[in-house]
Amino acid sequence: MSMAASTESQVQATAANPSTHAPPPRRPRRWPWTPYLLSAPGLALFAVLLLVPLVMTFLLSLNSFSFYGGIENVWQIGNYADIIADSYFHEVFLRTFRIAAVVTLLCALFGAPEAYILRRMKSPWRGLCLLIVLGPLLISVVSRTLGWALLFGSTGLVNQGLMGLGLIATPIEFMYTETGVIIALTHVLVPFMVLSVWASLQRLDPQVENAALSLGAGPLTVMRRVVLPQIVPGILSGSIIVFALAASAFATPAIIGGRRLKVAATLAYDEFLNTLNWPLGATVAVLLLIANVVIIVGCNRLVERRYKQVFE
C-alpha cells in the first residue's frame, strides 16, 4: 500500500469515528439521561399497566354514587368515612387478614420443614416430591378449588373418611366456612413458601450443621439454634408472598366461602358487579392495598431488626 493511500484511509477513519483517533483515548461524551432512556420501555410498561390503573382506582374511590344518578364526578372522602364507620366492613377486613395470617402461619409451619426435608432427599425422590409440592401451581385455580369443594361437602370424601374412621360423629362444615378457605388457600400457597425457604437453604453451608453436632448439640438443638435462624430471611420473604396473595385471593374465597363469607377481594368484586357501586368497590380495593402494604412492611421491619445479622 502506498503512503498516500494509507494516509487517506487514516483520514477517512478519523472522519468516520473521531473517538478512535483522539490523542488521549477519550470516551465519547455520554448523555446524562442514557440510563433513563434504557429503562424507559420497562418504566412505560410499569406506568401504563400498573401506575395508571392504580391512580384511576384511587380517583374513582373519591367519587360518589347514588342508585338513580350513578357515579357522580365529585371529589370527596365519603366512601372512606362509610367504610371506617360501618362494622360490616370491619368484619370483612378483619376476616380477610385473619385468614391471610392463619394461612401464612400454616404455610410457614408446613413449608419450611418441607423445604428442609426436600433438600436432604436423594436424587430421584427429590425431583418427584418437588413436583408434587409445586403441583397446585400447575392446575387452574377454578378446577383446583372446585376439587376442594367436592372433597369438602358434607357427603364429600374428607367427611366420609373421617366418619368412617370414627373420628367424628357429624360432618364438619368445610364449605362456606373460614376453615375451608384456609385449607384450600394453604394448599395452593405452600409452594411459594417452599421455594423461598429452599432458596435460603441453598446458601446454608451444610458443614454448619455438622459443626453444631460435633460441639455436642442434639439434632433438635441444631435445628432450633443453627438452621432456623439462618433460614428466617427465606421464611420472611415466603410469608410476604403468601400473605399478600392470601389477603387478595379471589377465586378460592369466592367458591369455597361463597357469597356469605365475604373477604375484601370478593367484597370489591360484588360492589363493582352486583351493586354497581364502583366508587365503594374502588375504596375497598385501595384500603386493601394500603393495609397490605402497612402490615407487610411493618412485619418486615420487625423481623429484620430481630435477625439483623442474618440479613447482612
Partner: protein, 350 residues
C-alpha cells in the same frame, strides 16, 4: 499405649471403595497428617472418625472406647472445617461459647473460657464481631477457638488452611504449631498440601486410592519414600528405571551406565531408583553420564535439566559461587547411596 486406633476402617460408595482397610495408631499429643491427592480417602476417613459418615467395616478406638458406637454429638471431638462452618448469626464469642452451652457450663465459667480461647488464637478484641465482618484468617482462628474450647479428646482439621492466601497460610501454620504445643491436644490434619503436612506434623500418613502408602516422620517419608507414589507426591523427585541384581558386594541396581548399591535385601528384576533433585551433584567419575539440556537461574539456586540414557533428570544446585556446567556440556551426575530410595518397578503404577 496407643491413644487412637483405626482398625481396618473401610468405606464404600456403591462399588467404589473410598477407604480400603485403613489401620493406623496415633499417640496422645501427636499431630498426624493424612496426606494425599483429592479422592484418596483422607476426608472420608476423617468424616468416619467424626461420625458424619458411617463406616462399612472396621473399628475406631479412642482411649479404649469404641468411637463408632457413639453418635456424632456424643463423641466430644473438636473439628475445624475447610469452610470454617461458623454460625453466621452469632458473634465470634457466641460461636466459641456454643459448645460450652451444650455442655451446660455455668455462665461465669463459660465467659472466662471463651475469653481464654479467643486469647489463645489472638482474637481477644474481636469477640463481638460477626463472622461476616472478619477476614478469612480471623474466621479460621474463631473456628479453631470454637473447636479447642470444649477441650476435645481429639482435634480434627479438614484442610484448615486451604482457603487462605499464601502469606496467611504460613502465619497460620506457625500459629497452629504453637497452639498444638501449648494445649497438647492430639490432632489429625487432613491436607493435600505436602509442604503444609511436612511443616506441621509429627508423622505423615500418605494415602492414595483409599489405601495408606506410608506412615513415617516427614523427613523419613521425604528421604526414604516407600514407593514411587510417595516419592512423587512429596516434593519433586527423579524416578529412574533400572535393573536390580546380585553383585560382588551385595545387591546392586544398574541404571544405564551406572551401578548403585542397594542397602535393603531385594529380589532381582526390574526396579526403580528415586533421588531428589537437590541431592544430585556433578561428579568426575562413577556416576550417570548425560548432557545438560537447560539451566535456569532461580535466585538462590540453579535448576538443571540433564538428558541421560535413563531419561531426563532434574538437578538443583545452590548458587554458592562454585563452577557449574554450561548448557550442552557433557557431564556426569552422582549422589550418595543414602540419598536414594530403591523400589520394585511394578509399584510405580500406584
Amino acid at each position: 499405649m496407643a491413644y487412637l486406633v483405626l482398625d481396618q476402617l473401610t468405606k464404600r460408595f456403591g462399588n467404589w471403595t473410598a477407604v480400603d482397610n485403613v489401620s493406623l495408631t496415633v499417640e496422645k499429643g501427636e499431630l498426624i497428617s493424612l496426606l494425599g491427592p483429592s479422592g484418596c480417602g483422607k476426608t472420608t476417613t476423617l468424616q468416619m472418625i467424626a461420625g458424619f459418615l458411617d463406616a462399612d467395616g472396621g473399628r475406631v478406638m479412642l482411649d479404649g472406647q469404641d468411637l463408632l458406637a457413639k453418635k456424632p454429638n456424643e463423641r466430644g471431638l473438636g473439628i475445624v472445617f475447610q469452610s470454617y462452618a461458623l454460625f453466621p448469626h452469632m458473634t465470634a464469642a457466641e460461636n466459641v461459647a456454643f459448645g460450652l452451652e451444650m455442655r451446660r457450663i455455668a455462665r461465669a465459667d463459660r465467659d472466662r473460657m471463651v475469653a481464654d480461647a479467643l486469647k489463645l488464637v489472638g482474637l481477644e478484641q474481636y469477640g463481638d464481631r460477626h463472622p461476616r465482618r472478619m477476614s478469612g484468617g480471623q474466621q479460621q482462628r474463631v473456628a479453631l477457638a470454637r473447636a479447642l474450647v470444649i477441650k476435645p479428646s481429639l482435634l480434627l482439621l479438614d484442610e484448615p488452611l486451604s482457603n487462605l492466601d499464601a502469606k496467611m497460610r504460613e502465619e497460620m501454620q506457625i500459629e497452629l504449631r504453637r497452639i498444638q504445643r501449648t494445649v497438647g491436644t492430639t490432632m489429625i490434619l487432613v491436607t493435600h498440601d505436602q509442604s503444609e503436612a511436612m511443616a506441621l506434623s509429627d508423622r505423615v500418613v500418605v494415602m492414595n486410592k483409599g489405601r495408606i502408602q506410608q506412615v513415617a516422620t516427614p523427613q523419613e517419608a521425604y528421604d526414604h519414600p516407600a514407593n514411587a507414589f510417595v516419592a512423587n507426591f512429596l516434593g519433586r523427585t527423579n524416578l529412574l528405571p533400572g535393573m536390580v541384581g546380585g553383585g560382588a558386594g551385595g545387591t546392586v541396581i544398574t541404571v544405564a551406565d551406572s551401578v548403585w548399591p542397594v542397602a535393603q535385601p531385594m529380589a532381582a528384576g526390574p526396579g526403580a531408583l528415586a533421588v531428589r533433585p537437590e541431592k544430585i551433584g556433578f561428579v568426575d567419575a562413577g556416576g550417570l553420564s548425560g548432557t545438560v539440556l537447560a539451566r535456569v537461574f532461580q535466585g538462590t539456586q540453579w535448576l538443571f535439566e540433564i538428558e541421560t540414557a535413563a531419561g531426563r533428570l532434574m538437578v538443583i544446585r545452590q548458587h554458592d559461587g562454585s563452577p557449574l556446567p554450561a548448557e550442552r556440556e557433557r557431564v556426569m551426575v552422582g549422589w550418595r547411596a543414602d540419598d536414594m530410595a530403591v523400589m520394585p518397578a511394578d509399584r510405580e503404577a500406584a
